[in-house]
């Protein structure tokens, strides 16, 4: 009988140790990294090194999450709000992404991109306001 758990346990003889893709595994590790860094157990760099995740892999995970969360919000907005929210979000995202020290050499280009997006955002807002008056 299989009633004696001293001998038979949940053994996990599944052979499914790995994730189906490296991306899923990276996401798994990035969640751990976020948690350990948030609790100040590890510094960010220490966590990346310990869990063997590169800065690029972590950035990609963050960007993907950010976009997915933003889309969830966009889905709840009207078309007009959606356009504005999208542009604002892109602006914020670019600011965060490229203000990072890794991209200092590219600051000028991205500053331009951000200012173009800001101008575009203002124009859309103005047009939307006119549309409301009409």
């Amino acid at each position: 009988m299989l009633t004696d758990n001293k001998e038979f346990k949940e053994e996990g003889f599944l052979g499914d140790e790995t994730f189906q893709s490296r991306e899923q595994e990276i996401a798994h590790l990035c969640r751990i990294i976020q948690s350990t860094v948030a609790r100040k157990v590890f510094t960010f760099q220490e966590a990346l090194d310990s869990y063997e995740v590169t800065r690029e892999e972590y950035d990609y995970y963050q960007a993907k999450n950010f976009i997915s969360e933003a889309r969830e919000v966009f889905d709840t907005l009207s078309e007009k709000e959606n356009v504005l929210a999208y542009i604002n979000t892109a602006t914020i995202f670019l600011s965060i992404r490229f203000n990072d020290f890794h991209y200092k050499g590219l600051d000028q280009d991205f500053s331009k991109a951000i200012s173009v997006l800001k101008r575009l955002s203002r124009k859309v807002e103005e047009k939307a306001a006119l549309h409301d008056i009409d």
Binding site: L2, F8, E10, E11, G15, T36
Partner: protein, 245 residues
């Protein structure tokens, strides 16, 4: 969504799959499930287990459902081949549902697949099926004794939290012997972060150890008791990601 109600004809359908249903207590199987394990679609669960595990069985299958109308009420589903001593060819699946005051806990007693069926994500598919039913019936906790071979490592990745500080101290000790000083420092930091605040804590996030590449072989060689809280959004997310991963 309406709550599933088990009918006598569904119980008959389960027995026609080959399950032996044992009832300890003066109550019918359908009434017992509807009263104490509300929301469990036991026919669908049995059919899913049958359709996924029967094709990989390498020996005669013993299918059994035991309903214990005691305090607390228990429901045990097992699907086990008779070659239980043959580690390379046996098929073991057993889950024990226990009705607590206003919730249900599940114990993952056994899950082992024949060697030829391993590494094909069937284990994770079984977890997905289980999780679907757990959520439908409002299971709040899953308990596991992760042991032997890959079990000590595998279940860490599913987000189970370690409940026994002595087991974690033993793993920490193994790490001290096996790892470099720098590697051990990282392992110890995670240990201290939790047990420094909760010396007798029963929810150590062992998932953070298992993500460290050098901990894999140490965890594989250890066994530990774990618990997963399905009412905790982080635990549930980790479990879902693992089952679908």
């Amino acid at each position: 969504m309406s709550i599933h109600q088990v009918t006598p004809s569904e119980i008959n359908a389960i027995t026609s799959l080959g399950f032996v249903i044992e009832i300890n207590g003066g109550i019918t199987a359908d009434a017992f499930v509807n009263r104490d394990f509300t929301g469990l679609n036991i026919k669908e669960f049995a059919q899913q287990i049958e359709s996924n595990l029967q094709p990989i069985a390498e020996d005669v299958i013993r299918r059994k459902i035991v309903l214990n109308d005691e305090v607390p009420p228990k429901l045990v589903i097992s699907y086990i081949t008779t070659n239980i001593m043959d580690a390379d060819h046996r098929l073991l699946f057993k889950r024990t549902f226990t009705k607590e005051v206003d919730t249900v806990h599940v114990k993952h007693d056994f899950l082992a697949l024949p060697e030829a069926a391993r590494g094909k994500r069937l284990g994770r598919k079984i977890l997905q099926i289980c999780l679907q039913h757990y959520l439908e019936m409002g299971v709040s906790k899953i308990n596991v004794h992760a042991a032997l071979e890959t079990g000590g490592y595998e279940w860490t990745k599913a987000g189970f939290r370690a409940t026994d500080p002595a087991e974690m101290a033993k793993i920490l000790n193994d790490a001290r012997s096996a790892l470099t000083a720098a590697q051990f420092t990282l392992v110890k930091k995670l240990y201290d972060d939790y047990y420094g605040k909760e010396p007798a804590g029963n929810a150590f996030p062992i998932i953070e150890w298992s993500g460290l590449p050098f901990m894999k072989s140490i965890l594989k060689n250890n066994d530990w008791h774990g618990e997963l809280d399905l009412t905790n959004s982080e635990d549930l997310f980790n479990f879902k990601e693992y089952a679908n991963g």
